[in-house]
Symmetry: C2
Subunit: 186 residues, 2 copies
DNA sequence: TTGACTGTACCGGCTGGACGGTATAGTTGC
DNA sequence: GCAACTATACCGTCCAGCCGGTACAGTCAA
């Protein structure tokens, strides 16, 4: 029970706790996230949880940071090509990949929002940054902004489990935008 | 202090309570909405609050219903003209009007979501309904869907206090969409 | 090599406060 | 005289954060 072949037991437990927090938030509702429930879900005691995250706020903060770093890493790689419209294209691709993964990105984010809206400040800042980059390197800033907003809406719907458009419709929507982007009409 | 020129004291108090709930949700965060805080904000005793809404769940339900009825009334009126693209045009106009009003629509909705995501089911259903109508009476369903999603994104951002685009940018975005709709390009 | 000591990772019980809801007795205005 | 409240007290539950442990791996000195 005390072997340690994994790279880091600590990092693994941290990750399990973050995953557990998202699962619980999705199951019980963003406002009903309790530390006890998270600990139980992760198979860790409450003390153990508080060892890794000294307060609930820190846990939610980590949840936001984790979400951000995943998105950011995926984007920077794709965006580095430097072609025109690279930023918006990467943004759309990233969404498609994220959507294709079975794991619903689900919202520990909503739990963070429920507890303290300020926790989402980093996300707001990053989103503004994305839009600026998207407009900067696009051939048609207005249209690129439209594409950005469409992706934003699709993500928001997934987060809220809304499903106004199904998977296929969302994909065809993205395809439609991509085609317009390459045609470059004004 | 005890004048009563309004049509109904009961309805007035109900409205004040709903407004107070939204204000508190915005100030304390959606997950920190307490009945005591709402009663205090509205200048009503806790007993009075529970007289009108026998449980917190009922209050949140009423918040959702209130939001829905306002949106619906505004839309049906504008949509009744029967012209092509009437639905999506009405949807966009409605957003602009709502945005122009000083009152941030703010989200008692988020409070409802935090407590129990199922409370938003009526909103999801209505949103699906809107999209269906929008596609049905539009000259270019794909483009109408894009417009719908853009408005959706702008609303979501307002709700989350994101402000990625400012008022003027949002308006110019809507204007851009409107122009495309009237040109009727494929 | 052994025994004292240290730091890390984690356990689980407890407490104090917040909050939803109940109860009840009184008050005001139409 | 009833509907629409006010005022206050109270109960039970939930929950964040705290704290005193435990297990164990590594270190280092004698």
């Amino acid at each position: 029970m005390t072997h340690d072949t994994a790279p880091s037991r600590k990092a693994d437990t941290r990750m399990r706790l973050l995953d557990a927090a998202e699962a619980v938030a999705r199951r019980l509702g963003p406002g009903n996230l309790s530390l006890d429930a998270v600990a139980a879900e992760a198979g860790v005691s409450k003390g153990g949880l508080l060892y890794h995250f000294p307060s609930k706020s820190k846990l939610l903060e980590a949840l936001v940071a984790h979400h951000l770093s995943r998105l950011d890493a995926a984007l920077r790689a794709e965006e580095a090509t430097g072609r025109p419209n690279a930023a918006i294209t990467a943004y759309m691709d990233q969404f498609l990949q994220e959507a294709a993964r079975q794991k619903p990105p689900a919202s520990g984010l909503l739990a963070a929002l429920a507890e303290n809206p300020q926790l989402l400040d980093p996300i707001r800042a990053r989103e503004r940054d994305f839009l600026a980059r998207i407009r900067a390197d696009s051939t048609d800033p207005d249209f690129a902004t439209v594409a950005f907003l469409v992706v934003h809406a699709l993500r928001a719907m997934k987060m809220l489990d809304t499903e106004v458009l199904d998977e296929a419709e969302a994909q065809s929507m993205i395809g439609w935008l991509n085609r317009r982007l390459q045609d470059g009409d004004t």
